[in-house]
């Protein structure tokens, strides 16, 4: 048995520091406990709502909306992005639109979507999908456009037919960047779903749970719901990173 590497404990420093600052803010009476419950109480409450299953309905609703939005955005965004990326002229013609709406906070478009879809569940999914699809299109298109020219030239000198060069080389070349887009897209979808659940009349979802708790001043529930939302985003990102590392094993190495 080798000596335990204390460096492995470094990632714990940040969370422990946060816990200490949180505790200190309360002990020193800088923040009132009605605004910020003690960390241990909050964690206990969090644990309670998970073990009792109280949070399940909201958690599931948020996950479902995010996944729906993400799947729709992927199915539309990846082929569209790849098509746009394979024709520089086509991409240049719509580049401004994609960039403009990508730079517009999608939450600013919620009123517009309300006019179109009304206060429905479809609306929440639609706007989240819209926000995610822009990120995905942009990245897939750039993945194709930035494909290594040498690899395409290598395939040309081998006498490979065009359609196979597209499928075997360009598409594969775009995958690492496409995955960056997918990861960004699912994060974006989650952000918009939470916002939509808060402000577009909703009976469930983590966003709804947070804003509900805030209105009745149930701060423990509010903070624990925020933590659960954070954990959800973190886990989604991590899952994607792991999938990426497995599928796109050459990313960053070649």
């Amino acid at each position: 048995m080798g000596k335990f590497d204390t460096k492995k404990l470094l990632p714990l420093v940040g969370p422990l520091l946060l816990y200490a600052v949180w505790e200190f803010a309360l002990d020193s009476k800088a923040i009132k406990p009605v605004l910020l419950p003690p960390p241990m109480d909050t964690l206990q409450y969090l644990w309670g709502s998970i073990t009792s299953g109280a949070v399940n309905k909201d958690l599931l609703a948020t996950i479902l909306r995010t996944v729906y939005a993400f799947v729709i955005a992927t199915v539309i965004g990846v082929p569209l992005g790849i098509a746009l990326g394979s024709s520089v002229n086509l991409y240049r013609s719509v580049e401004f639109l994609v960039d403009f709406f990508r730079s517009t906070p999608s939450s600013a478009l919620i009123p517009l979507f309300l006019l179109i879809f009304g206060i429905t569940d479809t609306n929440k999914v639609a706007i989240a999908a819209f926000a995610a699809v822009l990120v995905i299109i942009f990245n897939s298109a750039y993945g194709v456009m930035n494909a290594k020219k040498t690899r395409v030239m290598a395939a040309i000198t081998m006498g490979i037919p065009r359609r196979f060069i597209f499928k075997d080389v360009l598409l594969m070349e775009s995958l690492p960047q496409t995955f960056v887009g997918l990861r960004g897209g699912i994060s974006m979808a989650l952000v918009i779903v939470i916002v939509a659940e808060m402000f577009i009349g909703s009976e469930n979802g983590l966003g709804h749970r947070i804003i509900d708790a805030q209105q009745v001043f149930n701060v423990k529930e509010m903070y624990s719901s925020i933590l659960i939302t954070g954990a959800l985003g973190y886990v989604m990102n991590l899952a994607f990173l792991m999938l990426e590392r497995h599928l796109i094993h050459w990313s960053g190495k070649a």
Partner: protein
């Protein structure tokens, strides 16, 4: 404009270039360029930086469009001809999502060759190149020299008539350069494949060559198309043989004469 009808190719010619014109941004690089490339020989291309060595082999191999002129392979067009190309930058040329083995097999599979034939051909190449590393590894798991070896094997997989190599040694260490020089000679002797090698190192250029194509500064002309008939296979020590030194210094003289003019 010269065509092959007005200026027939000499006997034993593989690639005939007639009346070739190429400009970049209105500045001519090649004008009325004619050249006969002999069949089955190794041709080294040497010349000042930016004189159009890469552009020449890129035009012959179809990677760069020509402005006008004709390039024929035994009277055939490029479309009807199997070629191979080895790039200077092997990292960007191999497909990193495939193993080294699959990289070599790829052009064969895309030609519809059966699995058994593909396997046999890759094994043949692995024997020729005395491969001792695991071809199941991905390109990024291989050393630079191993990657370039895989590139050459892939380019030779389909048994092309002609192989183009653009500064294939420039990113390799000396040991690997010696190895690949030897293997290229072997492949040339074994399969009779014509090779056009761009080199920025005069010693590499002379060592491999049956013919040394010395180019001028742009607009580019043939300064000299030298012969070098030293018997093969040439061992690394060949570089100190009198005939080698003689040829190298003759080439150097022509090069310097062109740089002064």
């Amino acid at each position: 404009m010269t065509t092959v009808l007005q200026l027939p190719a000499v006997a034993g010619t593989h690639v005939t270039i007639r009346g070739l014109h190429k400009s970049f941004a209105g500045v001519p690089l090649y004008q009325e360029f004619n050249l006969d490339i002999p069949r089955g020989k190794i041709i080294s291309i040497f010349g000042p930086n930016g004189c159009g060595k890469s552009t020449l082999i890129n035009m012959i191999s179809g990677l760069t469009a020509i402005d006008s002129g004709e390039i024929l392979f035994d009277g055939k067009s490029l479309k009807e001809t199997d070629i191979g190309y080895v790039f200077q930058n092997y990292r960007d040329a191999l497909f990193p999502w495939m193993s080294a083995w699959d990289n070599i097999a790829y052009p064969l599979k895309r030609r519809g060759l059966g699995a058994d034939k593909v396997k046999a051909r890759v094994r043949e190449l692995a024997d020729l190149f005395e491969i001792k590393f695991n071809l199941g590894l991905f390109p990024y798991e291989l050393s630079g020299g191993q990657q370039q070896t895989v590139c050459i094997m892939r380019a030779l997989a389909t048994k092309p008539e002609i192989l183009f190599l653009d500064e294939p040694f420039s990113a390799l260490d000396f040991e690997m350069t010696l190895f690949i020089r030897a293997k290229l000679q072997e492949a040339n002797l074994l399969a009779g494949v014509t090779m056009m090698i761009v080199s920025h190192d005069l010693e590499d250029a002379v060592f491999l060559a049956d013919r040394i194509l010395l180019l001028t500064r742009r607009p580019t002309r043939v300064a000299e198309f030298m012969h070098f008939d030293m018997p093969r296979p040439r061992a690394p020590e060949a570089v100190s043989a009198p005939e080698f030194i003689q040829t190298k210094s003759a080439a150097l003289q022509i090069f310097q004469r062109e740089m002064r003019s």
